[in-house]
Amino acid sequence: MSDHKLRPADESQRAASLVALAPRRQPSGGRPSEDTRIAVEIRDLVATGDMAVARERFSEIVVLHQRRALRIAYQYLRNAADADEAVQDALLKAFGHIGSYRDAWPFEVWFTRILINGCLDRRKARARRERRFAPADDAGAADEARPTFSSAPPLDPEARLLARERQTRLASAIDRLGGRQRTVFMLCHYGDCTPREVSAMTGLNESTVRVHLFRAARKLRGLLGGKP
């Protein structure tokens, strides 16, 4: 395993796999996003006591944010069951406190902040547990939990093994980042947030967020065999 790169940085390969790109944001033109619009509607419905319709509308938000939230939570916690619970709790908490939501920021920012705080609490609780009891297996609880939720047909064994290896390397490299760097990287890269939004979530200065993000990316490239 001398080659620690996630994938060779070959331009031809990159051109061949254009589908595999991180999503790029489209300019919104100042309009509120769909989830923000729905969240404001839900807030008004809850204020008028129309809970049944509010719950129904909230299911649309669940569909919109579920996958992204699971990606953040799973990369943060590295445990499928924990991530599942964290996302559920964050969504329920968002609905329960929808009255305090202000549409100065997109709903995505507000909800991600709730989610990240929940994930941080779970990480702390897990660290406390591991201090008292024997730590979990080095392979990670994520691998143990995979058969629970995954019913996908098996891929090519070699490709599957390589993919698993890449995932493990990336996860361990991210785990070696410092607390703030990891949080900022998670939010910006996996949560698809801009540095300005991450600044609103974490309370850090936007330029500080950019610095943390740059250092995290540089450290990851160093750990995974790219340029330091």
């Binding site: 940085a9 790109l21 499928a80 559920q88 996908a152 993919a163 995932q167 990851l220």
Partner: protein
């Protein structure tokens, strides 16, 4: 190569990536430089590939762990939890607490008001009970003290003949029985016992009861008849 003569630093390349990903677009001078400088373009391409691959790897892993079936299950579970979100657990009030008057009691029929006992009334009841107990105990002690010296003096002077005391009190009986167990000679004890018996039989109430006793069949007679 109009705006920038040097190659772009790693920091600048990173800013370009952030701008591109955030939908803002790369600043024109930097974009022009990237288009013209092959070295910077390669470095930028490597950086973007690395970052995008990290995202794709994580996304693929998440998709592998959380399948569409699981997403549907989770949506259903969230909907179920939302249904019960507003319904808190029923709090049972303590039956004799201060809130018992206002809170519903499951054992009481609907519409029937809870018995109202004010704090002042309950305090009066408690005070009266305590006073009654105190007065009763005090009266008992005083009565006992009055009765005891007389019996002690009678017993201490001379041994009273039970015949003389026509209506012996209950305290007398206790006082007279005690010396017998204390070691008076048996002959005298028998005499005292017989005289007590005689005195008891001669009491007015006892004589009234003896007439009633005459009508009642005795066990000894019944047994004799059966034989």
């Amino acid at each position: 190569m109009l705006g920038l003569a040097r190659h772009l630093s790693e920091r600048r390349l990173f800013e370009c990536y952030l701008a591109e990903r955030g939908g803002e677009g790369v600043a024109p001078p930097l974009a022009e430089h990237l288009a013209d400088c092959r070295r910077c373009n390669d470095a930028y391409a490597q950086f973007v590939t690395f970052m995008d691959d990290a995202w794709v790897t994580a996304d693929a892993e998440t998709s592998e762990v959380f399948t569409s079936d699981h997403l549907h299950l989770q949506q259903a579970e969230i909907a179920r939890r939302l249904e019960v979100l507003g319904h808190g657990g029923r709090v049972l009030s303590f039956p004799f607490g201060p809130d018992a008057r206002s809170s519903p009691n499951p054992g009481r029929p609907a519409g029937q008001p809870a018995p109202v006992v004010s704090g002042v009334t309950s305090r009066w009841v408690v005070s009266a009970a305590a006073a009654g107990l105190f007065i009763g105990v005090a009266a008992g002690v005083i009565y006992d003290q009055r009765a005891r010296p007389a019996a002690t003096v009678d017993h201490g002077a001379t041994m009273p003949t039970p015949v003389e005391s026509t209506v012996p009190s209950r305290s007398d009986h206790v006082e007279t029985s005690l010396p017998a167990s204390a070691g008076v000679d048996p002959g005298n004890d028998d005499t005292v016992f017989m005289s007590e018996l005689e005195a008891a039989l001669n009491r007015p109430r006892t004589s009234e009861l003896r007439a009633l006793d005459a009508f009642t069949p005795h066990t000894r007679e019944i047994t004799y008849r059966i034989r």
